[in-house]
């Protein structure tokens, strides 16, 4: 081992528990977040497996309706509010954003730590809701069911989500200020990695959207506690108003979830094609276009809610428009590979998997924006399949792709490449087997959130459950080899993928203050035609990938 191997980094700087729990280092906070959200991912996954088993038969098999309803609600709430929304921003974004900007930390390190505590507290309330009997409203909390009729822990869950919302506001605020004020010398806006651009757009949505759902969900809790009647038709309240307020946030929230994933994909595709992202400024600005347009399409969740037909038409046309920037991104990613030097390492396989699944997820989004088709498939498995293609096929693939891509940087260890590649294939197959049949069963008319269903849908449900098992095996395999690499994995060099980007110019894992010398940026992002930007300094004993 060379002298550099003993070099102090953010992981070995201090070893006490307090040095982690009270750390102001964005990298350590990112790891705290990682552990927390993975816990929720596992919880949500277990809930999903349980109700997938239940759905093997058309009648009740292993549980009552009330249990089934609590399970799908638990799956939705944990996965969306406690896994997907914080996943890439609070983990990868938190870890990488300051490094990519050449900064020592985020602008407000204490706020960053506070955000993790707030998030964890919200998460504990959510867990409390599950432990003390569960919630049975669905993650959408539609009134007046949630506010008046549901007989479960709605208040706890609502408060948990309300509080976790502030964690995401803190993160978003921190990102925007850091991007504006703390870029290294020479790092102009159009030299920023697209990962940063997408987090910038995400943060704008978080700042403007999250407070609205916070107050909405708080009103549901207040309504349950004090019976104020704001959403109760018996007292003159309007239950549909809740849907407007809820989707005003929760549709943009979809972009909170997918935009950071798109940022990850841009980084990976550029690296493994050794090319600057084709049409860089267009891709960068398309993130902002999505962020802005995304605020004006919420009504497409409400075409059959008794909203006016003409309002529906306006929401429909705007929904089609928001599809365009996403399509542009896909075309540009594919064009990036053209004339490149493509290598299919694990992260690139995740990125290609993302592309394949996101294309299907995006195109089926057009089906839902088409009003006449929406009337038929609204609230069916078609919708379930669509958003799992975008959220799991898109976001989760991007998250794990990014985790693999930056794993050497975060942990200083290399994972077994072959197992990594095999796992991507397993996940890809398992995912499609789980969710593709749901498009079909959805168009055939199977409503979502059904515990008991007509027999003719059973075959497709069995396929889906089979696929879910394969998917679960894939995730477990990943957990095994990543944990293995933590202990026994070979030490990673500074730049094992030979990637461009400031994060690859600092040791793996990075020192506490990220850089020994404040970096100065001389090149565009992804300057793969400048050989010096992607050199590795592998030492004896270190190993590069491939």
């Amino acid at each position: 081992m060379s002298a550099q191997a003993k070099q102090e980094n953010y992981l070995n700087a201090k070893h006490t528990v307090a040095s982690w729990l009270f750390s102001l280092d964005h990298k350590r906070i990112a790891l705290l977040y990682l552990l927390t959200i993975l816990l929720f991912f596992v919880l949500g996954g277990i809930a999903a497996m349980l109700f997938r088993v239940e759905l093997l038969t058309p009648g009740p098999a292993v549980m009552e309706s009330e249990t089934y309803n609590r399970l799908f609600t638990m799956h939705g709430i944990t996965m969306i509010f406690f896994f997907l929304i914080p996943s890439i921003p609070a983990v990868l974004g938190n870890f990488l954003l300051p490094i990519m900007l050449g900064a020592k930390d985020l602008a407000f390190p204490r706020l960053n730590l506070a955000s993790w505590y707030v998030f964890t507290f919200g998460g504990l309330l959510g867990l409390g809701a599950i432990i003390f009997g569960g919630v049975d409203t669905g993650w959408t909390f539609y009134t007046p069911y949630s506010s008046t009729y549901a007989n479960s822990q709605v208040i706890l869950a609502a408060l948990g989500i309300f509080i976790a919302g502030f964690a995401s506001i803190m993160t978003g605020l921190n990102f925007i200020v850091t991007i504006h004020k703390m870029r290294a010398p020479g790092l102009t806006w159009f030299r920023l990695p697209l990962f940063v651009w997408s987090h910038y757009a995400t943060s704008i949505i978080i700042i403007l959207g999250t407070p609205v759902v916070a107050i909405t969900i708080l009103l549901v809790a207040i309504e349950r506690i004090f019976e104020v009647g704001i959403f109760d038709p018996a007292l003159g309240g309007d239950p549909v108003l809740f849907q407007h307020l809820f989707w005003f946030y929760s549709h943009p929230a979809v972009y909170i979830m997918i935009l950071p994933g798109m940022g990850v994909i841009s980084e990976i595709i550029a690296c493994f094609s050794r090319k600057r992202i084709f049409g860089y400024p267009v891709v960068a600005l398309s993130s902002l276009a999505i962020a802005i347009l995304g605020f004006f399409v919420w009504g497409h969740h409400m075409f059959v809610s008794s909203q006016s037909m003409y309002a529906g038409m306006i929401f429909s046309i705007l929904s089609f428009l928001v599809a365009i920037p996403s399509a542009i991104k896909v075309f540009n990613w594919v064009a990036t590979m053209y004339g490149g030097s493509v290598k299919l390492d694990t992260p690139m396989l995740y990125a290609l998997g993302f592309l394949g699944l996101f294309i299907i997820g995006g195109l089926t989004g057009l089906f839902l924006a088409t009003m006449a088709v929406n009337v038929h498939v609204h609230d069916t498995y078609f919708v379930v399949a669509h958003f799992h293609y975008v959220m799991v096929g898109g976001m989760v693939m991007a998250f794990f792709g990014g985790l693999h891509f930056w794993w050497p940087k975060i942990t200083g260890k290399l994972f077994p490449e072959l197992l990594g590649r095999i796992t991507v294939v397993i996940i890809f197959i398992g995912f499609n087997l789980t969710f593709f049949p749901q498009f079909i069963v959805g168009y055939l008319g199977m409503p979502r959130r059904y515990h008991i269903y007509p027999e003719e849908f059973q075959f497709l449900h069995v396929l889906s459950t089979a696929g879910a098992s394969v998917l679960a095996i894939g995730y477990m395999l990943m957990a095994v080899y990543l944990l293995y690499s933590l202990v026994l994995g070979p030490k990673a060099s500074r730049n094992p993928w030979k990637a461009a980007g400031l994060e690859w110019t600092t040791p793996s894992p990075p020192p506490t203050h990220n850089f020994s010398e404040p970096p100065v940026v001389k090149f565009e992002a992804y300057a793969y035609d400048e050989e010096e930007v992607y050199q590795d300094d592998a030492e004896p004993g270190d190993k590069g990938h491939g």
Binding site: S65, E66, N69, D136, Y142, P144, Y145, Y149, A150, P239, V240, K275, G279, Y280, P281, V304, S306, S316, F320, A323, I324, A327, I328, F331, V334, A335, Y338, G340, S341, V342, K343, L344, L352, L355, G356, I359, L363, L366, F367, A369, T370, M371, A372, V375, H376, D379, T380, I440, L444, G445, P447, R448, R449, Y450, I452, Y453, E456, F459, V462, D529
Partner: protein
């Protein structure tokens, strides 16, 4: 376990074909792009695979023309989807004037229907073949959604509001009826069947087995309620300014005492029964008592049906 034989549900209404055509168009476009992009990805991965670490990429960073092309083509395609979708939606949303009306009330966890003949049923809906049917729906508790996949028809059923849904069956048989909006513990049991019968069989069914024992039609039931509740005492032309006459009221313009003018639609009549002082007709005393709590949603719809039967302007 049965294998599904088709990827489309049965087409049993006039609009089912329209929706399916649009669906197939969308599938066509989607397959084209999936195959195009997927094919390009596979081709690029093979054609431009990294042969050695020294491989240098071609410096190609963008192309304005390409950006314009792949912005414009999807834009044109989605606008076709929008206009086509909106056109079919317009038809889905507007029932024909001659549609037969059936009243539907949703409550946890059952559907109540009442036919113009007076016969009512729970979780089953009999309708005549080849005749447009309009459902007027409301809920007694939470939000439900009335969904008949074979008709490609769905509409939320909202407490405190009337929503409507229409279809014209084109095929005899029994089709699934689902509640599509999650409504609590037994949501998945809030389902039933829609039975499409030939017109004459429907008429026979609607009369019931013994015509003498048949229930009252909604109009008759409404008329009886109107009498029993004493509405006629004020609402007749002889009463002066006690209460407005109901003849020709439906869909007429009503001038209110605060100067506003409203159309006397179902919502207005319902509100006037439950909240009489909300919109008082100009020239009449605000003296009507409320009937909130005395009438359930079905009875309200019956009274409205009766008032409607007194003609429109």
């Amino acid at each position: 376990m049965k294998m599904p034989l088709a990827f489309l549900p049965e087409q049993a209404s006039t609009l089912a074909r329209d929706v399916d055509m649009l669906y197939l168009f969308l599938i066509g476009v989607s397959m084209f792009f999936t195959i195009l992009i997927g094919g390009l990805i596979i081709y690029f991965v093979i054609r431009y695979r990294r042969r050695s670490d020294a491989d240098r990429p071609a410096p190609l960073h963008g192309n304005k023309l390409l950006e314009v092309v792949w912005t414009t083509i999807p834009l044109v395609l989605v606008m076709i989807m929008f206009f086509w979708g909106a056109a079919v939606f317009y038809k889905q949303f507007r029932p024909p004037a001659d549609a037969m009306e059936i009243l539907v009330t949703g409550k946890q966890w059952m559907w109540k229907m009442q036919h113009p003949s007076g016969r009512s049923e729970i979780n089953d809906l009999h309708v005549p073949l080849g005749r447009p049917v309009k459902l007027t729906m409301t809920s007694e508790d939470v939000i439900h959604s009335f969904y008949i996949p074979a008709f490609r028809a769905k509409m939320d059923v909202v407490p405190g509001r009337y929503t409507s849904l229409w279809f014209e069956p084109t095929k005899e048989g029994s089709f699934h009826l689902f509640c599509a909006e999650y409504c609590g513990a037994e949501h998945s049991l809030m389902k039933g069947w829609v039975h499409v019968l030939p017109e004459d069989e429907y008429e026979e069914w609607a009369r019931g087995e013994d015509p003498d024992l048949a229930e009252l039609t909604p109009v008759e039931a409404g008329e009886r309620l109107f009498t029993e509740l004493g509405c006629l005492a004020c609402h007749n032309p002889a009463s002066g300014t006690m209460g407005p006459d109901m003849t020709g009221l439906y869909m007429s313009n009503v001038e209110l005492d605060d100067g506003r003018t409203v159309v006397a639609d179902e919502e207005y009549i319902r509100q006037s029964i439950l909240e009489p002082m909300a919109k008082v007709t100009k020239g009449y005393q605000p003296i009507m008592p409320t009937y909130r709590g005395q009438l359930d949603e079905t009875q309200l719809m019956q009274i409205i049906a009766y008032i409607r039967s007194l003609g429109t302007e």
